[in-house]
Symmetry: C2
Subunit: 235 residues, 2 copies
């Protein structure tokens, strides 16, 4: 308990004061100088504790005015985006990957917009299915931009999924996710083994790196059984 780094001990102590309600949102708390005396350490040590708590959204700091307890608003939700394989194996199920289709195809208008290209230009189109214990778990409909990722044209994707391959070969630096719900129809229903009209949870992802848009992908999951979970909290 007391063998923690001092700055960490201070953070814990202050956080406890906030959580216990001793310091309530909006309250001013003592200045760095005073806290340094209280904790018998240098101001810079207190400063680090306060700075980090402010970054975590617990405190609000302003020059001259001092430090106050932040109002707990504007949280965010953090979902882990792990590889499907890890996600499935974590549940104890067996994982299987199947490539359904791999073509160089002209871009449909909506996808073209996502990749920032003109409709009709060609890109690598992949359809894949991921199984958990032999049951369809995720249907992946992906386009990869061959101008940003020419190496992808050399890869068959019959042994390795696009996601692990991209993670390994083309690290991205930015991404956008959109989550929505729809009902299963046509080929998506058939592929996922669902009846028409059953709910489907869709996660759409676009990723970029310095060179440009890397890939855009739609993951379809059986909606009633699939769940995106997130144990979590502040900021």
């Amino acid at each position: 308990m007391s063998d923690l780094a001092p700055y960490q001990r201070i953070k814990d102590t202050l956080l406890e004061r906030v959580h216990s309600g001793l310091w309530r949102p909006g309250d001013s708390i003592p200045g760095e100088q005073q806290l340094a005396l209280d904790f018998n350490c240098a101001r810079s040590t207190v400063h680090r504790a306060l700075r980090e708590l402010a970054e975590e959204g617990v405190l609000e700091r302003k020059r001259k005015t001092g430090t106050r307890v932040a109002y707990p608003t504007g949280r965010s939700l953090a979902l882990d985006i792990s590889l499907v394989e890890d996600e499935i194996k974590a549940t104890g199920a067996s994982y299987q990957y199947q490539l359904l289709e791999r073509t160089l195809a002209p871009l449909p208008p909506t996808v073209a917009a996502h990749l920032n290209r003109a409709p009709g230009e060609e890109a690598l189109h992949l359809l894949c299915l991921h199984y958990a214990d032999r049951h369809p778990y995720q249907f992946e409909d992906r386009w990869i931009d061959p101008l940003t990722v020419p190496e992808a044209l050399e890869e068959g994707f019959d042994q390795i999924g696009p996601n692990p391959w991209l993670l390994k070969n083309v690290p991205w630096t930015e991404a956008e996710h959109v989550i929505s719900a729809d009902i299963a129809t046509g080929s998506v229903a058939a592929t996922l083994g669902l009846k028409e009209g059953e709910p489907v949870l869709i996660v759409e992802r676009r990723t970029w790196n310095a060179k440009g848009t890397v890939t855009t992908v739609r993951f379809h999951h059986p909606g009633r059984t699939h769940r995106l979970r997130s144990a979590f909290a502040p900021r």
Copy 2:
């Protein structure tokens, strides 16, 4: 450009080297001592830059071994959990709130489990509807534990929604979210103005504070038009 704090300038420079591919995942980068010479500053300044980049998941540091560029795996997705009102107003639409029902009711078994109580015990049950430009935007089905939040029994919730009220009065410290898809049936369909069989996007949230479970809530959104967005990235 150059009027940034030195530690920030160093962070930017190093991040650029990673993003540009000059330093690739797995590469070792120079030690703090060397970088301090390169940037003509104290080691502690370099240290802060490296420490923060490591916290952000860009670098991996180990004593004796040194610092290397992290493999870009295990990202996470951060969704903003803002108040519905802000969310709607941000799109330029007008916001309206309506309380449909407010009862003290016995807990159904599934909800009881969520609140960590016995089925049949009583809790505050709220049904609310949030409109964007007069169209149903979100149907909220919420239970509040009166043992954890006795003040809620005094509140009518006819003027203020449960979410802003709770944020103001009962700050929580932990939350869990589950996102899923379903199809609209019965009262949910009717309330949201959807036909039976249309897709619904469901976000379920449970929140705790030091005293215990605060509330559990299911938000239902029209699935085809609603979207959870997240511009974002690493860790």
